[in-house]
């Protein structure tokens, strides 16, 4: 069982009005409204951030680090996500972001797009193995990995055992910085500038490896204001601190958009899907063996890919288009030219997983199969009594979910307004009958 209470989506109780907005949109049915407030079932939450996006009251908050967290370390490395490049109008050049981050107090900037270059090369090597599972599934999106752990455990073996660009970037950045400046590793803090909360969870609770190389995650929205004012002051040709950065290739930056990873790894039969519901549907198809020719599956939880993350500033379509234009203007460089195999090997064990991904048995009704069968039977009995409107007024997302909650002991039949109404009507009828019988 994976550790719980490590999620990065939290509820601001004061703001939640107990409406059914998030309840109905959660792709894993992890939300219930209890006592007039939304609660999240830890085992089922995949940190996709849909609830953050849909909440009209802004009661769902992504838990990330404040910028001040970097001061815990003597040397601070910024790891900007490729998605950050889509946030700003008229970027003078790719290095202006790095220059801005350095002025904000970071000691070194290592673009995660460079991590994406290295990850791409490692994945290309995996694809060369004729015995690798088909399709290989991208490990980049932690929300999709968690979805697979919960809903598609039989596909876990298909997940490519290469760490995410963020992790690879952190390991490479730390190594490079420590060697260049001859400083001990513990003095160095690596901070991911993140478009999503799922990455913050993946740092605290890594999937496929024991420890994260990243020390914290700061949301794009947190640094947006400060960084844009730095960018306004940025001058082309201002190369101050330029040797204190490492940037990635155009293909690495392309990972910010859905399809960018597939393009970078040059897989001839690859499929890129974005949006968590779409990803679910295509995973179903893969589970049914409907896509036997597929070699690589890239699934990203957010619409548009990482540029559509829940804690970015810019609209996904605008940001996506900026990334597209930026990539067009950059030199065309193949991954095999951008990263040598020696560079991948030099990172040693920091590129691949060091442990298998375990399934999360959150859907199971009971550990004992016979008990589970019995409960399934009871659920069916309860469900037949319910109206089937999936209105959500009871606090469970659907009538089926309420039936399960009742059998699991988390809800009562009279939580259903329709059953309650029926009960009140029956009682009123009985009262009338009693009063008729006892009339003198």
């Amino acid at each position: 069982m994976a550790a719980v209470n490590l999620h990065s989506v939290k509820l601001d109780k004061g703001k939640c009005v107990g409406c059914t907005g998030c309840l109905k949109r959660c792709p894993t049915e992890a939300i219930r409204i209890r006592k007039g407030r939304a609660t999240i079932i830890d085992e089922l939450c995949i940190d996709c951030g849909e609830c953050i996006r849909v909440c009209q009251q802004h009661a769902k908050i992504a838990v990330t680090d404040p910028l001040s967290a970097i001061n815990r370390f003597k040397y601070k490395i910024a790891l900007p996500a490729p998605a950050l490049f889509g946030q700003f109008k008229k970027l003078k050049d790719v290095n202006s972001i790095a220059r801005g981050l350095l002025r904000m107090g970071f000691s070194y900037v290592f673009d995660v797009s460079r991590g994406a270059d290295i990850a791409s090369r490692a994945i290309m090597e995996k694809l060369k193995n004729p015995n690798c599972p088909r399709p290989l599934i991208s490990s980049a999106c932690p929300a999709v990995l968690r979805l697979i752990q919960i809903r598609f455990p039989e596909l876990l073996d298909n997940v490519v055992d290469v760490r995410s660009p963020m992790e690879i970037a952190a390991s490479a950045a730390r190594k490079e910085f420590c060697e260049k400046n001859n400083v001990p590793s513990e003095d160095v803090g690596c901070f991911f500038i993140t478009p999503c909360a799922a990455k913050a969870t993946a740092i605290r609770n890594p999937i496929g490896h024991t420890k994260s190389a990243v020390d914290g995650a700061i949301s794009i929205i947190e640094i947006y204001g400060l960084l844009s004012s730095q960018l306004r002051r940025d001058k082309t040709g201002d190369e101050d601190g330029f040797d204190r950065t490492h940037s990635g290739s155009a293909l690495g930056i392309g990972w910010a958009r859905s399809g960018g990873e597939s393009l970078a790894i040059e897989a001839d039969e690859a499929l890129a899907v974005d949006g968590i519901e779409n990803v679910s549907k295509v995973l179903e198809e893969i589970e049914n063996d409907r896509l036997p020719d597929l070699k690589y599956f890239e699934g990203l939880a957010c619409d548009g890919g990482c540029v559509g993350g829940p804690i970015v500033f810019e609209n996904v379509y605008i940001a996506r288009n900026r990334i597209r234009k930026l990539v067009v203007d950059l030199p065309k460089e193949k991954i095999s030219d951008a990263v040598t195999l020696e560079e991948v090997k030099a990172l040693g064990n920091d590129v691949c997983f060091d442990k298998p991904i375990d399934p999360i048995e959150a859907m199971k009704l009971d550990q004992d199969f016979k008990e589970a069968l019995k409960k399934m039977d009871q659920i069916e009995e309860v469900r037949k009594k319910l109206p089937g409107l999936d209105c959500g007024s009871c606090g469970s997302p659907t009538c089926q979910a309420l039936a399960e909650d009742i059998v699991r002991g988390f809800a009562r039949e009279l939580d259903c307004l329709f059953l309650l109404k029926q009960k009140v009507a029956d009682m009123a009828k009985q009262m009338v009958e009693v009063s008729e019988l006892t009339r003198e």
Binding site: E154, E284, N288, R290, M363, L365, D377
Partner: protein, 141 residues
Amino acid sequence: MSIIREEYPVEAMDFVTAGEASAQIKRMLKKLGVDPGVIRRLAIACYEAEINLVIHSDGGKLTLELNPDNVTLKSDDVGPGIPDIDLAMSEGYSTASDDVRMMGFGAGMGLANMARNADHFRIDSKVGEGTSIEMIFDIKK
């Protein structure tokens, strides 16, 4: 001992709902905690069976029976039947129309795929009447 029996009607040429029965069955088995490997095999066979009903039959039903030791999946239809079962069982043989093939179905691996994924496979067919398939999947303990 609890035994669950569920029926899922499947309509001919109804591509709107095609795959829904399989998805429901899969979800149910996951909730019961059936071994993921068994679910994967059952999912593949079940989807093939459902699509066969949609493409080839005049309508039919899938029946799922759950016991503590195994899962039985039956597919019963009214339809043209299969004149030569051995031929139909060979990979690549298909009588699907071009329209259906255009949709990515009817590659002619359905029956063989079902037989390969099930632990026990039985098929009966009468030309002009219909086809019945029974597949049993043992649940690992």
